[in-house]
């Protein structure tokens, strides 16, 4: 199977002040695949995903060593334009966080940020993104409604549509369904499986069934290390490491 490396992480160490949260992590994320991060709380999954679009820049006293490359280029190099990096690597958060604006303005915010002013062009992007996020039919008749007035599951799909509207190459999802009910969760899982045809997806999840259902590859984290990363099928049926085996069989975590 020929695969292209989309993101390559090498020997990444990360500190919050004096606390070392990642101890030299290596990771490969392949193009147009879903990579899932699993592991117990506080093991570094969310920390690592935040380094991939440099959201950790917002955290005070956070410092890193090692490299993160996107298409072979170091994203921490001085030459990288941060806003452009975040346009290429989008993110969906644990709690749905739509802006307290209309649904339309939520989706149009990203494109407008990157200079698209033309109304018909924006209309097109909004429709396309909402369709991609499988929520167009539910909201098409009230795009001017405040995005906070719809249900949590719908809000999360609005957030996904909002992230897609800037046409990212990679979509990072930090436990996107942990705050949602089972029906919304399954809708989002279907949606994510659909999206991998066009996007490279990285997803943190607490839910091992979710990882095994939808991901192509899985990385198992423990105490700031990646213990094992492989094909999801292999991780869940025949892991190489005993810690992985213990975790997926529910012996801890």
């Amino acid at each position: 199977m020929s695969r292209t490396n989309k993101i390559t992480v090498r020997d990444l160490k990360l500190w919050y002040g004096d606390f070392e949260a990642l101890h030299g992590v290596d990771l490969d994320i392949y193009e147009k695949e879903i990579t899932a991060f699993i592991g117990p709380s506080g093991c570094g999954k969310s920390t690592l995903i935040k380094t991939l679009n440099r959201m950790n820049d917002l955290v005070e006293n956070c410092r890193i060593e090692g490299t993160v490359e996107l298409d072979g280029k170091d994203i921490y190099s001085r030459k990288v334009e941060l806003n452009n990096l975040r346009k290429r690597v989008g993110m969906v958060f644990q709690q749905p966080n739509p802006f307290p604006k209309s649904i339309y303005d939520n989706i149009a915010f990203g494109p407008r940020t990157h200079g698209i002013k033309n109304k018909s062009e924006l209309d097109e992007i909004v429709e396309k993104s909402l369709k991609q996020a499988a929520i167009w039919d539910e909201v098409k008749d009230h795009l001017d409604r405040n995005a906070l007035s719809i249900s949590g599951g719908q809000q999360q799909r609005i957030c996904i549509a909002r992230a897609l509207a800037v046409e990212p190459e990679v979509l990072l999802m930090d436990e996107p369904t942990s705050a949602l009910d089972p029906i919304s969760t399954s809708k989002i899982e279907d949606l994510v499986s659909e999206l991998k045809n066009e996007y490279t997806i990285v997803m943190v999840t607490h839910n091992m069934q979710q990882a095994s259902r939808i991901s192509d590859r899985t990385a198992f984290f423990l105490n700031g290390n990646i213990i094992e990363q492989d094909e999801t099928r292999k991780i869940f049926t025949n892991p190489s490491e005993t810690e992985t085996d213990n975790y997926i069989s529910g012996r801890f975590g």
Binding site: Q95, P100, K101, S102, F109, H114
Partner: protein, 271 residues
């Protein structure tokens, strides 16, 4: 038993608070309204008509002038403190501490400072500009604190969402955070307005007490509260002082109603 007692206490204190306010308002209305004569609103002040019209206009001028200077400075300081400053920076801490200290200083101290600095040292004399600058310093902490609180209350999630879409700091602040924080900032500005309208001590030695409308920024005047203070202090126009109080009261009530209306409108719109 205890909960019943507590309930009674809470009930009693709310009745007391509301009763006091009601008593105050009714007392002023009864003693003032009947002395509201057209001559009190004459454009020209004289010792016989003791018109409050010049004072009313001067109040508006002082409020407008102060807000014009204090709002941008206060709001931008709030922006800086919340979204730009490194919280551990000693300069930032100093600004925060200065804000708190400024808020706690009795207004007569502002008056004396304004007199020594603006009136005497800068040779502004008793003037509109000296008065405005003095109450500007006084209202800054109110506006800064309100801005800070409103910005903090908007929370990290919507900021993160904006940054994650590739928006910069400025765009995030103005397009995402500010619309949400606006009602809070505005209520701070209106609170400051209330303080300015009610101020006497800080203005007496800076704005002065001239009876007519100030013809320029460097002319003296008096605000409504100051006018009322002087009338009642002189003791010869106590009835007119009550009438002035009625107008002042209406003024403050209108400001409050306006603030409620505006923040409701803004919060409800949410576009």
């Amino acid at each position: 038993m205890v909960s019943k007692l507590m309930k009674g206490l809470v009930y009693a204190s709310s009745v007391f608070t509301f009763g006091m306010l009601g008593y105050l308002v009714i007392y002023i209305l009864i003693n003032g309204v009947r002395f509201l004569t057209p001559s009190l609103f004459s454009w020209q002040y004289s010792t016989s008509n003791v018109s409050m019209m010049p004072a009313l206009m001067t109040t508006l001028m002082v409020v407008a002038g102060t807000l014009l200077i204090a709002t941008p400075i206060g709001v931008f300081t709030g922006f800086y403190l919340v979204d730009y400053a490194d919280r551990k920076n000693p300069v930032v801490r100093a600004v925060g501490m200065a804000t708190d200290t400024l808020a706690g200083i009795p207004s007569i101290i502002y008056g004396l400072f304004g007199m020594l600095f603006f009136v005497i040292f800068l040779e502004f004399q008793f003037s509109l500009i000296a008065g405005i600058l003095t109450v500007t310093i006084m209202s800054l902490p109110v506006i800064i604190r309100a801005t800070e609180e409103a910005l903090i209350a908007t929370g990290m999630p919507i900021r993160q969402a904006s940054y994650a879409l590739g928006a910069g700091k400025l765009r995030t602040l103005f397009k995402v955070v500010l619309p949400v924080a606006m009602p809070g900032i505005l209520s701070g500005v209106i609170l400051a307005t209330g303080r300015i309208v009610g101020e006497t001590a800080a203005l007496m030695f800076t704005l002065g007490t001239a009876t007519n409308l100030p013809g320029s920024l460097f002319a003296s005047g008096r605000t409504l509260s100051l006018h009322m203070y002087i009338l009642s202090q002189e003791g010869r126009h106590v009835n007119e002082a009550y009438a002035t109080a009625v107008v002042l009261l209406v003024f403050v009530l209108v400001i409050n109603a306006l603030s409620t209306l505006v923040s409701k409108r803004l919060a409800g719109g949410g576009k």
